[in-house]
Symmetry: C2
Subunit: 273 residues, 2 copies
Amino acid sequence: MKNRRSFLQLSALGIAGTLSNPSFAMQSAPKSVEFPLGFAGYSFAKFNIDQMIAMLQKLNVKNLSVKEIHLPLNSSVEAIEAAKKKFADGGINVYTLGVIYMRSKEAVDQAFDYAKKVGVNMIVGVPLPELLEHAEQKVKETNIRLAIHNHGPEDKLYPSPKDVYDRIKNFDARVGLCIDIGHTLRAGVLPEKAVKDYKDRLFDLHIKDVTAMAKDAKVIEIGRGVINYPAFFESLGKINYQGMCSIEYEKDMSDPLAGMAESVGYVKGIMRG
Amino acid sequence: MKNRRSFLQLSALGIAGTLSNPSFAMQSAPKSVEFPLGFAGYSFAKFNIDQMIAMLQKLNVKNLSVKEIHLPLNSSVEAIEAAKKKFADGGINVYTLGVIYMRSKEAVDQAFDYAKKVGVNMIVGVPLPELLEHAEQKVKETNIRLAIHNHGPEDKLYPSPKDVYDRIKNFDARVGLCIDIGHTLRAGVLPEKAVKDYKDRLFDLHIKDVTAMAKDAKVIEIGRGVINYPAFFESLGKINYQGMCSIEYEKDMSDPLAGMAESVGYVKGIMRG
């Protein structure tokens, strides 16, 4: 829609005439990039695994970051296999696990063991800073990537993406970030800037919207808040982002379906608009 | 998002250099137009007036075309006043009534009398063709506009917008069209073309999505179907459309909220994308 407008504008400026075939610029204009959508499992904290799968089907979103609420970290192999069958039967792609908090070496080991059993190649996690080297070791051992999640201004460990990046930038390249764009904005950082600044370590995204660029901002349906989604997706296109955009919806958690659906619709519209 | 991309593309083609200040084209790019959203009352056919108001509040959409399911055509003045108070208290703007089918002179008279009592300045209606002159007379008498609704290939009266337009183009300028873009596409006409072709008589829109450009296409969440929403809104911008975009959601009518919300989100995203 805007391609044509900007072309018309260039025409008005007398520039388009320099094209031998003025329609060429329109016809060959790149399509918007459509990034694959997912959901962060925490969005379904009040629902069981079957309800979550039904909701994802209704939302027509296939990719899921599984939270331990729906599949405990200490699950038996049998329980994990049963859950995997449910997801497969429901057409759900479990692409990562988390957010997993890791407060001891044993917790790090457990997380990687769990990920191996589930069969994913990435964990979204929050290891204590003193455990980062051990976690890096596990990444090397297992070839499972670790995307560290920032949790906003009240988070003592990793409030903003920079706080993650500065600690891991010299680590193995399979240690990176899951940028939570809501917490990022609340920490005073524009998501459209953060994804560019840390693009070489950006593995995953939790997308959402918030009411203000302030610590005490509230979560809200995507599109009703202040995050500049057109600019954000423009940045993702520029950095050629290859990961998922997982919606983490934390409003109306007992009755979230309408807000989730509005968020899904808005994000699709922005990507195609 | 696309402005910048198309500018970069022009740069690659060696054209942008003819601009003395290359950033000018981006900075002065027009913003997307945001058209006001509404809902067609038929979407809430399975719900009562209180439930409908609650659903509209949840969807954060204020404008409503009231269907007689929720306020019968033969309502007393008291019943109309009571309903108007409910809408006002709920923050809902009743901007029109309909779709009202008019199969006799008395039905035309009743519709305009009803509209006067409700206090709207437009009716969305379907008068039999032989009643159009009488309806025009009522428009002149009451200064209430009449937007005639097309209902797709199986409609013997007005399958596509042209079938309305050709009958009313020489009528009083307050007789016009409510283009239903789903029925229009099913009738083989592109909505982005129809709104331009009949722009001088385009008063209202029922927006939706359908699974194919075919008579037997099914309705679906906006964004999941085949209607080219970016092109459609581009056309609305070009014709400087001044009316509402009312979503008519006819899928899952017993449990429509998630689909409605996805549709609202998608339309907002397209307009801002």
